[in-house]
Chain length 584, copies 2
């Protein structure tokens, strides 16, 4: 059987930065070619970044993407890399589609191309378009209707893009019908807790359906609320795992495969789901036999909490860097949320790029400032204290506010201080809100919700505690100082906006709250179903009512790393004015 050294490049892209992305592609293509790769692949829309959203509807951006693709082909050849075919995702348009209502303006396509010898040898577009969760691809793209097959060193390689593997039908059975020797799918599959298990099972199933070795190449890095966790996979036609790449890290997986030789007559005609074969012979002769040195193998998997923590670090680091910030600032209350955000920021950026501000008020307990200072000491971040008393007094002298308005005022004074420091010194403000709070609307608009990024907005409070404990334990294991003071983890959560306040004045115990929220928010269960699971009816009604009413606040919250299929962000949108009260 012919041999093929396949290079799967788990790379990061930045939306809109065509020059940078092209540079990344050339860098890793050279890396792979130097190591003897016969076929080199990059992720879905690697050239434009993913997801491009409404940029897809801007003809000048589509033109720029197409021009960048051709320039990339030329550059690869000019740098002596033209002989090895390179598969790369980009944004294209369909020339055949007529404009009309119900078709995206300009007929953009989520496309990929095979570059070879300085030219674009073949292009194709995603056939199955996802339009759920974080995906809106029917809004942006016209589907592709071909089965692209390239003959590389005597092997017929069928190509696909992401969703083509997730949905039934289409390119997977078509690859079998075409007698492909390898099915290669390029992806930009966003991270979700425990998704890697789903992904592995999917690829194993599809390989068996396609009847050939299947390679699933995934993107890494962060883009706004999405984290791409890598985890590229190669399985054989029986579903046996040949290779599995590390999670979250950029790099090139090289694997030597033995694949069936292509039939002399190239596949043709119309196959499953009406897909028309488009075949290009890039190199008909197999590689001269060589001793396989790169058999694959599986990178170790991260544990559950480490995986989440890493996703949060990667998302935060990417957001800060890609938005051109060199540092961050956050309020440090002595509580668990801001402590975890500080630890994440130090891990993402280094403590020297993290600025923390304690902003005590007359209602702050003594331990708050002490706990904040202790975290600063342990992590080495920059720490300062700005008491809010003078501003608070100035406001109260001009404005008659009491009760909840007075509580919110304190939170907003802090938000204004952080924004002032941010504007003056150039740091990005991090918002410390968690998913439990966001769900219930337990936060102050323009107060603790101020910021450019909310690293833990998709993390339930109970998981915040678990992550804090895990991070401290991981430090202890490595003989390092645990970053988060034990007192911060142990004390009852409080906003400290009035004397003696604790979260449980307003919210149920987090262990119960989070389970109810998970059923309502993540699983879309109704009130009756939740009550039927044994929760107190009055508590369920109260929680659901809070969630039902907090859409506006959630909409105004900064973006933050998604770790679940249903966070609050681009996958979830309700009318702001909404009178449906699941909570009655």
């Amino acid at each position: 059987m012919p041999q093929l050294r396949l290079a799967l490049n788990q790379t990061d892209s930045c939306v809109g930065d065509l020059a940078r992305n092209a540079g990344t592609i050339v860098h890793w293509a050279r890396h792979a070619a130097e190591r003897g790769a016969h076929l080199i692949a990059f992720p879905e829309m690697a050239l434009t970044g993913y997801p491009v959203e409404d940029l897809a509807l801007r003809p000048s951006f589509v033109d720029a993407s197409r021009a960048a693709l051709h320039a990339l082909a030329g550059r690869l050849a000019a740098e002596g890399l033209g002989e090895v075919p390179v598969v790369v995702g980009y944004l294209d348009r369909c020339e055949q589609t007529l404009p009309g209502y119900g078709r995206p303006a300009g007929s953009p396509q989520n496309a990929a191309a095979v570059l070879h010898r300085g030219a674009v040898a073949l292009t194709f577009a995603k056939h199955h378009l996802p339009n759920y969760g974080v995906f809106d691809e029917f809004r942006y793209f016209v589907p592709g209707d071909t089965l692209p097959v390239v003959r590389v060193r005597g092997v017929d390689v069928a190509l696909a893009i992401c969703e083509d593997l997730w949905q039934e039908g289409g390119r997977v059975p078509a690859a079998r019908s075409a007698g492909a020797g390898l099915l290669l799918s390029v992806n930009a599959s966003p991270y979700e807790r425990e998704k890697h298990d789903t992904r592995l099972e999917l690829v194993r199933k599809r390989a068996q359906e396609a009847g050939c070795t299947t390679a699933y190449l995934a993107m890494i890095g962060g883009q706004d609320e999405l984290v791409f966790d890598g985890d590229s996979i190669v399985v054989d036609r029986d579903g046996g795992v040949i290779a599995r790449a590390p999670q979250f890290s950029e790099g090139c997986v090289l694997v030597d495969l033995e694949l069936p030789a292509a039939a002399p007559e190239p596949p043709s005609g119309v196959l499953d789901d009406g897909l028309r074969v488009e075949h290009a012979v890039l190199s008909a002769d197999p590689v001269p036999p060589y001793p396989p040195e790169l058999p694959g193998g599986q990178a170790p998997r991260l544990g559950g909490l480490e995986e989440i923590y890493t996703a949060l670090v990667v998302g935060l680091r990417a957001y800060v860097a890609k938005n051109g910030f060199g540092s961050v600032v956050l309020g440090l209350s002595g509580g668990i949320d801001s402590a975890l955000v500080a630890a994440l920021a130090c891990d993402a950026l280094g403590a020297e790029r993290v600025h923390a501000v304690a902003m005590p008020s007359r209602y702050s307990s003594e331990h708050s400032l002490a706990d904040a200072a202790e975290l600063a000491r342990r992590t080495g971040l920059h720490f300062r204290t700005v008491p809010i008393g003078p501003m608070f007094d100035a406001y109260l002298a001009s404005l008659a506010v009491t009760g909840l308005a007075e509580e919110n005022l304190q939170s907003r004074l802090r938000g204004t201080i952080l924004m002032g420091i941010s504007n003056q010194e150039g740091h990005l403000v991090l918002a410390p809100g968690n998913k439990s709070e966001l769900a219930c609307g337990y936060s102050t608009l323009y107060g603790d919700s101020v910021g450019g990024y909310g690293p833990i907005k998709d993390v339930y409070k109970t998981v915040i505690f678990e992550l804090a404990r895990w991070r401290n334990a991981a430090a202890a294991e490595r003989g390092q100082t645990p970053p988060i003071p034990e007192h911060t983890i142990g004390k009852p959560p409080s906003a400290e906006l009035r004397p003696g306040q604790v979260d449980t004045d307003s919210l149920p115990d987090y262990t119960v709250l989070d389970r109810v929220l998970e059923l309502y928010v993540d699983q879309d269960r109704g009130r009756e179903e939740i009550v039927a699971q044994g929760f107190d009816e009055a508590l369920v009604t109260r929680v659901l009512r809070m969630v039902d009413r907090a859409e506006y606040k959630r909409r105004q919250y900064p973006p933050g790393t998604k770790i679940s299929a249903k966070g609050f962000g681009k996958d979830r949108r309700l009318p702001i004015t909404n009178h449906w009260r699941e909570g009655g």
Copy 2:
């Protein structure tokens, strides 16, 4: 030919408020029945409100909508209205669709039902699903695959929902193939500047294609950023206009039609686009001949500026009411934007429910406070003054901020004052930003962008001036005091955050700026195309660069009434992290 008195009810719905919406339907059904209607129609999703967005994916809400539909059928019969068929839009689910990737969870449908004699006589779902602009219906709905036809008093009435008329093919040609005597489409078509002309031409064209009289019933009212402007239309089979309802106002259009008798054999089989006829005979015998008293006629059209102004008033009024507020508060700077917002608020709610606050600083010019006070005097709104000096001094004593950070601080102090008053007194805060500012990012996060609603966020600055002049002239014509001081309209716009500041320090002249923005934002033209239209290249580059970099600010802005196909809101979404720089 048989006669039919058709009742088109231009009604308002509130998303999620099934009880209220059902009440509205019963009220207007009674109104129509009392006036002798033979067929009564309500808009698309009138029972649930439109658009329901992610509520469609909540099975308990779909169940509630179905239950409410059946209860409504029973209630209409119980109130003696059961004999007249009622067409009403609601949310349903498709029982035949299998779950899977790429299909919306629970298979929801944008449906309508014909209620008759206490029962649901027939249901159907929208066939063409829009998925562009403000619409995301592929995300939420499974399409319908029938041509529904009900025989009412001897006339075959084919039914459709909104987009079924906008896209080519489907129910319009199928209605002709089925020999329908009337095509009735129920809609929730959002307002856009000058859309009514498009809509009329569309209905005329479709009537000719369908070969029968065509009725287009539209919703009125406001839902978050969308305004529904009514403007229901009935045209004959040659495209001649029979009736046209008033814009923006709730009511029932009654029209006596003469329509071809249905063939004895009901239509059946599979027609255009694979649509299967679903036919129900509700009443086979024609109405005994009666003298037609309601021949239709056309309500007068509003002028261009009056139409926009009315849309803004309707949108604001709906948002305030549907979100449970009784009053609003806004900062009054003496400038044109806040003056127009104040005038809109007084027209929407009455001056007694509008609270304005002047918040002068050391940089405010004398005329600012005078102009604000003059507007208060003219309109009669509640007016108070809170100088920001003491708070400003308290901040400067604690925080070293200068330059732009100091400018932003002043704006945030004002935002915090407005939010304090809102929290204390219960008013909704209105944000005064316009589309020109939003496009360029010329505003302060958590400062002038604070609020629950931004009434003029989709209105360019040049149009703000036109609207102010139009509103004043309209008042003068009616012998009323023009609400907006002439000095406010005449002076150069300024943020007054440093001595002598004017907008043109930072932005090009608005007459040029707005034309460039319209090309870039509304028409998605690229830099080269814009320059080719004769604009200065450096200016275009500068403007586009500002727009390219302001996505985060726009995302954090409150919702506001949309009046264009491309505002900043639910129809437009870019990645926040986006390195595509059309402006270079």
